[in-house]
Amino acid sequence: MARTCARRPRAAAAAAALALLAAACGGGGGDGEGQTLDVWIMEGTHPDATAYFDDIGERFREQTGAEVDVEFVPWADAHDKFTTAIAGNTMPDVAEVGTTWTTEFAGAGALADLSDHVGSTDAYVPGLTEAGTFDGGLYGVPWYAGVRAVIYRTDVFEDLGLEEPTTWEELRETAITVSEERDGMTAFPVPGDAVYQALPFVWGNGADIASSSDGRWSSGLDSAQAREGLSFYTGLALEDGVSSTGAGTWKETDLQDNFISGDVAMMIGGSWTPAAILEANPDLEGDIGAFPIPGPDGGYSPSFLGGSHLSVFNAAEDPDLAWSYVETVTNDDNARRWSEATTYFPGKRKQLEPYTASDDPLVRPFAEQMSEAGRGLPATENFGKVQGDMVLEAMLQDILNEEATVGEATARAAEEVEGILNEGS
């Protein structure tokens, strides 16, 4: 791999030449003068992201003299795009990195250790700093987080005299009622190409995707609890008929699209989606509500606590400039504006307080879910490969397409998860 190594000095030389040229022509200004920061931000989080980042970019330019070039990347392609960029050495300087990917990219050596810049991590939400920590260093600064709960149509519930369910059995009965009473509507779709909708039914029944002891990972997917939970979840589609046939190959985006077009009564969706749903279909204003995902016999089923870090890539030409951009994006003022527009929760504890005390019906249930039953994925850099290999999606689709029983599919998935997580150990 001499080529990658050889390319860096060349790029550096080109950058130096450009810098000299810029200095010769312009001169003066901040220390970022003439530089351009390449920033990747995930698409679809903020309804008007372009204006938001144009504004931040403008302020950042006034402050440092550096231009910011923001590229928006769709979530679905982002992981591939990152690995391709790392492979081709076309990484950005700063990027929004999904919290589940940070350890993976850090383990590969693509990210810069930000511990020295951050200092104490006490100010941040603990679950998020954990996800950004690898080998004792902090590689992702918590930016924002979200959690999934059940989003439903309040108008449909009112018409049919339904209450928000508080146990799995109530969830099932509610869905069956909607399905019987509303012909053109899918009561509770069970998407086969979306994992985060299924995990509450594994976790809620007390099972684990994987846990480690003495350095070896073992998967709980083939445990009795996980099988019971997944039988219930897939049974909603296969036995109770409250899902649709097409949902067997839906991604989370398909789920949301169908909810937006008014064809879905209940779905497990993120705290960030109500804003996007209303943006796409303003007719639903006032007709959507949310409740935390119920536990099997009351209480809560844990839901994935996901979010984004801001990371600085090792290839950044000016790491200090990149860090000051990260600081700008996560400062109190910008974080508040971001949260207001996206309904994501901020990554700093102090910034989070107003939300847990909110009485907004589209904020409180999520804040409750986040504080009571938020859950992370197995904290290992190899879990990205489990996701890349779509082990859990394949398991779900095999069950939903009736190519395997819950027992067969979970046994295979557990074996694959263990194989990948214990690779090279």
């Binding site: 791999m1 990658t4 590969a108 190409d193 046939t245 067997g248």
Partner: protein, 341 residues
């Protein structure tokens, strides 16, 4: 074509341009110019090197764009190469381990290879047959009607593969697509519907429709060009001998434009074997449904989702070797020996 070298040597605008002959080539320069005389290469050397000099830019482009990446993929395929190797630049040479792992993987023999080969066979036959039928139709049409039909055909060709795929996905939407409604209206599919994206055969049936729809215009246009070169007398003679339409097609048309069929078949085979976007973008096609991956998508998933760049490259090399073998086989059977030369 004026030979640039000769023209320059002549140095006289409007001077008669001749192909450089072995003896003659130096003469015009000596006659037409009185400047300092440069030493010249012997005529024979120049004749030998001239084609290569003229080909050099094209060869350089091919080397950089084709051979370099190809060599790199082969080199990657004999390494254990992950994301950490990419970043650190370290490489672990493991010989043919990737190939051994690949060839002993049941998935290759039961899923990826059959999917790729059977799909390609169906798609190639479908594309060539349908394209030829359209070409025969176009050949019989009047000028205006031909232009109109050709215009419609070209729209299918001009549509980008990604947009086309999304249109087909929409047409076959499991819960609400036109096909579902039609089938339900005539009673073939019940109210619970049927998820054709979940089954291997139906998944690839939709993909084949997509690929044939996107690929037939090329065949139609190329075969039509061939049909137009067939002398009218041949068909008239056959007609006088009492040959029917099928006999005329089999015994006159096919032998006359056999090279055209060879070209469209080989190109279609190559395209359909390495089809990627049309499979990857379909529901479940990006890895969630393990039964529907083909070699191209499998290679991509192994490389970029699973970050086993070595294994992914080995799959890609395997695919390339298969295509090479098939192409050589085709060329041998379709062309007679003298046509190959």
């Amino acid at each position: 074509m004026a030979d640039p070298l000769t023209t320059r040597q002549a140095g006289v605008p409007g001077a008669p341009v001749r192909a450089p002959g072995p003896r003659r080539s130096g003469a015009p320069a000596a006659a037409g110019r009185s400047g300092p005389r440069r030493p010249r290469l012997s005529a024979r050397t120049r004749r030998r090197w001239l084609p290569w000099t003229l080909l050099a830019p094209a060869l350089a482009v091919i080397a950089v764009l084709l051979l370099l990446p190809l060599g790199r993929v082969v080199w990657l395929s004999v390494q254990d190469y992950g994301l950490d190797n990419v970043v650190s630049g370290r490489s672990d040479y493991i010989g043919l381990d990737n190939y051994a792992r690949l060839l002993t993987d049941r998935y290759l023999w039961t899923v990826a290879l059959p999917n790729t080969a059977v799909f390609a066979l169906v798609a190639v036959v479908g594309t060539v047959v349908f394209g030829t039928l359209v070409a025969l139709l176009l050949n019989t049409l009047s000028r205006i009607a031909r232009t109109a039909v050709l215009g419609c055909v070209l729209i299918a060709w001009a549509m980008p593969a990604v947009s086309g795929t999304y249109v087909w996905i929409w047409i076959f939407d499991v819960d609400d697509g036109p096909v579902r409604r039609l089938l339900q209206a005539v009673g073939i599919v019940g109210p619970e519907g049927y998820n054709w994206f979940a089954e291997r055969v139906t998944f690839y049936a939709v993909a084949a429709l997509n690929v044939i729809h996107h690929g037939f215009p090329f065949v139609a246009v190329t075969v039509l060009a061939g049909l137009l070169t067939i002398p009218r007398e041949l068909h008239e003679a056959a007609l006088l001998d009492g040959a029917g339409a099928w006999q005329r097609f089999r015994n006159v048309t096919v032998p006359t434009i056999r090279p055209v069929f060879a070209v469209v078949t080989i190109l279609s085979t190559i395209w359909d074997f390495k089809v990627f976007a049309q499979v990857y973008l379909m529901p479940g096609g990006s890895g969630g449904n393990r039964d529907v991956l083909n070699l191209g998508v499998w290679s991509y998933v192994r490389s970029f989702a699973n970050q086993s760049y070595g294994l992914g490259s080995a799959i890609a090399v395997l695919l390339t070797l298969m295509l090479l073998a098939i192409t050589v086989g085709y060329l041998r059977t379709i062309f007679r020996d003298e046509e190959l030369r």
